[in-house]
Assembly symmetry: C2
Homo-oligomer: 346 residues x 2
């Protein structure tokens, strides 16, 4: 029997409450994983055979300065969950609370992987028929070209190892397809990635139109425009699907039409279900973190725990790192140990 | 009788060809406007009572360096159309070709308005029930905070004057709602706009989710992330509507459902029709330019000519400028005349 991977889960902060996260943990335990839940024990229940509950009622709310909140609140559930991973008690982290706090706590306690400039949030974007990995989805609001180049290699490695995509096609998100398009650092990253085409299948710049057209497997962006692209996709999908629903309710004729269409549309909804992929993965640190969307239900949290456990078992971080080394994309000089714990302007 | 406004139209480069643009010009003429069409006379036909045709068969294709192409090709239809506006023969420009060439030609020949740092491309985004203005949609890939502040005022003025929105709500596009979110220049623009809250209804940062939720009338961004947001919206809409259509074709049952739903969905499609608003408007120069989407048909070009003509008649540029002056958002020192003709790094 394969040994169970233990995943530390912060159950505070999820939109549907800690009990919903606990239900997700129970689902994950049924699928062969082991979970340590940090949150208010009164709401989490007693746990179960492979679910341990640690009473940690203190939650870090969404704040303008999550790094400070993390440093000042050692009792917070996210800090305890991160600590459990840093100390080796668990193999990976899943956070149900604010992305900012999860990022800050991870950066504070997990060191950056050797030679990595900046960690990045990577998320599998569920598009019908052609899901792709977007990174950075929000960990770094401004980046330099060498950061973008590392994101490209980290993303390619993730898609190979976790999603089983052979030789993933990697693209840069820009405002035009020509190599000259975009801010200076995007243009420079384009040049570097084009020059090193042997190690990676770099297909050049793609525009926002390309979303969902299946043109690439990995889409690289700075964390600001990547975050905007991701949320605009979500916002646009919401508005459109709601509008289709409203249109279907506008007359008896269209109501009947909507009813007949429903099974086919349900299939579509399943394909674009963000819960299926478990959320965003924090790459580039020495431990793996998975950040589900705050709106996820039990199924989404179970998927997040699954992604985290599989990531540990398949050594995603080690293999991503090998990939960076092979591509010559690791930074040369190492920062001091202190500097390695937080993202800097390097 | 009100005097007709003359609009110079570059008919080269539209996806459906110059003849389609000429049909748009004919529609606009019926609605009381006057058009000078620049393009291949053989394809444009003889013109009409209020449509003059100037034979200008040379077209500037999409190129990595449109500024150079514009300077080197005085015979190009876009250059001639811009020249017609600069010389006073026409009141405003409509370009059917590549946005890059239209921008470059306008920047080359139209001076910047006094006190304006950078011109911006502003586009009314058609969202069901809550259209809003997005700027900059791609004229400047990198901006400073004072540019964003000017975009906010220019956008508010445009929505008041052209769209009749009283006291438009203005927001900054960022990766979080907190004032501290985003790159340095977004944070600084937030601070400036908050401090001057009297002149403008600044509602703070909004995230990509907010698209289409009706939370703001003007959405301000740098031209890189603004362009990405706009194209991601288009790409996501395309993919989703195509997926709904595919779902409707997947079985006899759903085919019947799709048929019954069609009239209601057609209403939705009309609401999100980008052709209705005529395209993007170039603000901040001394002449007005409208850049329709390359895919537009005759109806879209007619709308673009209408927007351009109405903009001249309502003195959009003058009123936008007044607005900037009132808000104290004009730059103090004037650049030299030469520097004013192209965007610089100021």
């Amino acid at each position: 029997m394969v040994e169970r991977v233990t995943v530390a889960v912060d159950a505070n902060g999820a939109d549907l409450g800690p009990a919903e996260v606990a239900r997700g943990a129970a689902l994950a335990a049924e699928r062969g994983h082991r979970v340590v839940l940090f949150g208010p024990a009164a709401e989490l229940g007693p746990g179960g055979e492979h679910v341990e509950v640690v009473d940690a009622p203190v939650s870090i709310a969404k704040t303008a300065d999550p790094a400070r909140a993390v440093r000042g609140t050692p009792a917070a559930s996210i800090v305890q969950a991160v600590e459990a991973v840093a100390s080796g008690r668990a193999g990976a982290l899943v956070s149900g609370g604010s992305t900012g706090a999860a990022l800050a706590a991870s950066l504070f306690r997990f060191k950056r992987a050797r030679g990595v400039h900046r960690p990045a949030l990577a998320i599998v974007v569920p598009v019908p028929g052609s899901p792709f990995l977007l990174l950075d989805a929000g960990a770094n609001v401004s980046v330099r070209s060498e950061h973008l180049v590392q994101f490209a290699h980290m993303g390619a490695a993730f898609m190979e190892v976790v999603m089983g995509v052979r030789r993933p096609r990697v693209a840069l998100l820009s405002n035009g397809e020509e190599p000259s398009k975009g801010p200076e650092d995007v243009v420079a990253a384009h040049a570097t990635l084009s020059a090193g085409a042997g190690e990676i299948d770099f297909i050049g710049n793609v525009e926002g139109f390309a979303i969902g057209k299946g043109v690439c497997d990995v889409l690289v962006a700075d964390g600001f425009s990547g975050n905007i692209a991701l949320k605009v996709m979500e916002g646009t999908s919401d508005v459109l699907l709601r509008s289709v629903r409203d249109a279907a309710m506008s007359s008896t004729r269209s109501k009947l039409g909507g009813l007949l269409l429903r099974p086919a549309l349900r299939g579509l909804r399943d394909q674009i279900d963000p819960e299926a992929h478990g959320g965003a993965v924090l790459l580039g640190l020495r431990h793996l973190g998975v950040v589900p969307h705050g709106s996820f239900g039990a199924r989404g949290f179970a998927a997040a725990i699954e992604v985290a456990a599989r990531g540990v078992r398949d050594d995603v971080l080690g293999r991503t790192h090998e990939r960076l080394a092979e591509a010559g994309a690791l930074r040369r000089s190492e920062p001091s140990a202190a500097a390695a714990t937080v993202p800097d302007e390097s």
